[in-house]
């Protein structure tokens, strides 16, 4: 009998010990004053080499150029997991030194005092400040520069010239109006061609062409309330597209990826997306691919000559890392490289618009989609500080995505949809 009691005690003790054992092997900081410094870059994809090849290339080049001095390592996880991880790591102080974060979440990090103010960095590096050309303003809350744009986003519609030719429809231009656009949709439909490919199962991923709609109805002038006559007009234009059967039949159940594939396969004339798809479009459609901002509207006073060239989500710097001089030096060196002309050239080569602007960096002739975007930008129009959907808190952002897709699918009337956004903002 006594042995049995011992056994029980032993088992419990063993369990307690295993717990304590691992409590022991806690932190082991890598940063020291001399020798190579390694900094962590938290990124929102699990496999950067395949899923963010441009950033991966920039990091590889940086590591090669600073061999033995600085090394950048990825801390990689898919977007959803990454966003959870950053929140958890903020709590226990294990955040990476630099990390990508969703624009809607970044202000919370700034308020919590977790991320560094980069205005000093910009002041010290006037050339980079100039190259960013105001694009960094989206991530300045008045008190601090809490982030810098990861890349530049150009959003709107890609279109397939071959299908327009087939239907005998003129290509859209920067001056095309809503009425002309609707006529275009009708003609494409009459020719048996799906006008616009969109997958709204993951609604955040089909938002892009409508950012231009919101901007052209004066999104930036909104004051607290979303259900305004101007916004109702804007949403009515989206509803009109549904009514004209502008979207693919599978809009409710297909994903962004399926919608993209349909466009690349030549099964739809237009596809709402952004610059990250340039490479895929070039590869599949070659010289037939072109880019358009979306229609101009005549029933509003808001400026129509707006180009949706906006910063993508920010990358931010861990405030704690900036306090360690060795790490701060490495971070500064990396930012200098990331926003320098070499990285910009790497970016262009990978069909991605960098956040910076350098005179002698451009796309090659066979980067059709990108050249079409550059052409569209050629009119020198103004751009908003940030894309409308990137100016909101996570809850209102969700509500905006819901609102747009509720209208596309006919579940919400324009006014209902906007009321839901107001309700989300009130919570």
């Amino acid at each position: 009998m006594k042995t049995s009691v011992k056994k029980i005690v032993a088992i419990i003790a063993a369990m307690a010990m295993t717990l304590c054992l691992f409590a022991g092997c806690g932190s082991s900081d890598s940063a020291s004053s001399d020798g190579p410094v390694t900094i962590k870059f938290g990124i929102h994809v699990a496999n950067p080499a395949e899923q963010e090849p441009v950033t991966n290339q920039i990091v590889t080049d940086f590591n090669a150029a600073n061999d033995g001095q600085y090394t950048v390592e990825f801390e990689a996880a898919d977007t959803e997991t990454h966003s959870k991880n950053m929140k958890l790591e903020a709590e226990d102080g294990t955040l990476p030194d630099i990390f990508w974060i969703d624009a809607s979440e970044a202000p919370e990090y700034a308020e919590a005092g977790i991320i560094a103010d980069l205005s000093g960095y910009l002041a010290d590096n006037a050339d980079i400040d100039e190259a960013l050309n105001g694009m960094e303003n989206a991530f300045n809350n008045g008190d601090m520069q809490y982030g810098l744009p990861y890349q530049c986003n150009v959003q709107g519609f890609y279109y397939n010239k071959a299908l327009f030719d087939k239907a005998g429809v003129d290509y859209p231009t920067n001056a095309t109006t809503q009425d002309e656009f609707m006529e275009m949709v009708n003609k494409l439909n009459a020719a048996g061609i799906t006008p616009i490919s969109i997958g709204s199962k993951n609604s955040a991923f089909a938002m892009w062409p409508f950012n231009e709609y919101l901007t052209r109805y004066g999104w930036d002038n909104l004051e607290g309330t979303y259900n305004t006559p101007e916004m109702v007009k804007c949403f009515e234009k989206i509803a009109a597209l549904t009514e004209a059967k502008a979207f693919n039949d599978t809009v409710a159940t297909s994903e962004y990826f399926d919608a993209k594939q349909a466009f690349l396969d030549g099964n739809a004339a237009m596809f709402g997306s952004g610059q990250w798809d340039c490479g895929a479009c070039d590869e599949a459609l070659g010289e037939n691919v072109a880019f358009w901002w979306g229609p101009q509207f005549t029933d509003t006073d808001a400026p129509q000559e707006m180009a949706m060239k906006v910063p993508s989500a920010p990358i931010v710097v861990n405030a704690a890392s900036m306090e360690d001089p060795a790490k701060a030096a490495a971070i500064t060196a990396f930012l200098n490289y990331y926003y320098g002309p070499e990285a910009a050239a790497t970016s262009f080569a990978g069909s991605i618009f960098p956040a910076t602007n350098y005179a002698d960096v451009a796309a090659t002739e066979t980067q059709y989609a990108m050249n079409s975007m550059i052409e569209a930008l050629g009119d020198g129009w103004q751009s908003p500080t940030a894309a409308p959907d990137q100016t909101l808190s996570p809850a209102v952002q969700e509500a905006l995505y819901d609102a747009i897709f509720g209208v596309i699918q006919g579940n919400y009337s324009p006014a209902d949809a906007l009321d839901k956004m107001d309700a989300a903002a009130a919570n």
């Binding site: 009998m1 691992f22 496999n47 899923q51 996880a77 997991t81 959870k84 958890l88 990826f257 690349l264």
Partner: protein, 276 residues
Amino acid sequence: MISKRNKSLLQLLIAAITILIVFPLAWMVMLSFKTSGEIMSNPIAPPTSFNLENFTHALDILNYGQLYGNTFIVCIIALVIELICTFFSSFVIARMHFYHPGIKGALFTFFILGLSVSPFILLFPVYKINVFFGLRGIWALIFPYAASSVSFNTLLLVNYFKQLPSEIDEAAVVDGCNIWQLMFRVILPMSKPVLATIIIFNVLYIWNEFPYASVMLRDVSEYTLSMGASFFKGTYTVDYGGIVASSLMIIIPELIFYGIFQKNIVEGMTAGAVKG
């Protein structure tokens, strides 16, 4: 007795049900030979050729030796912990004598409460608890996994133990068994079928578990199998071919494991083991 005609009818029925249920799996195997573009453009069409590219690509990107190894280690350790713990506690609840019989019911209810919890609710709190105990890497998974199985195992074990006739215990005690002998020499051999079921479920749970694994593991060298699929889905790109192939790489060992278990243990248990 079942007539011959009825028998073949029943066999037909079994075959029909099986086909209906297996159809999606067969479809998935078929998809694994198609490129990602083909899967999206026309998922129903058969593959144009017997193309193993998805598999070679998956093997290129992921270190399967390491993934299998990590998953296996997590599985074994968590399984040992949870089986020992729940075998003991369920034995107490199901077969020991309590002065107030209500306590048994209360303990049982207490232990199965956890079944009602969706794992993602526990993600943040468990992370914080792991940090508090300094649990890192695979150890940050093993304890939560073991804990997640407590409710399920209790439910199955207690209900099973209750079905065993109570005379067994008395006979064993009269024969001079102590409590360990009773548990390990008498009850344990009689519990093979339920233990087999539990082991299968526990192993499959751990093998496929994603939410905890994705949040607790930081280092690629610690990753478990379920994280493989995330390597093929980026923000703006998806490689369905890679996902299907990597999923099959997860499933194949499971199917083998299940087949072996099903055959040797569940079936191997002779009806005579429960004599009552």
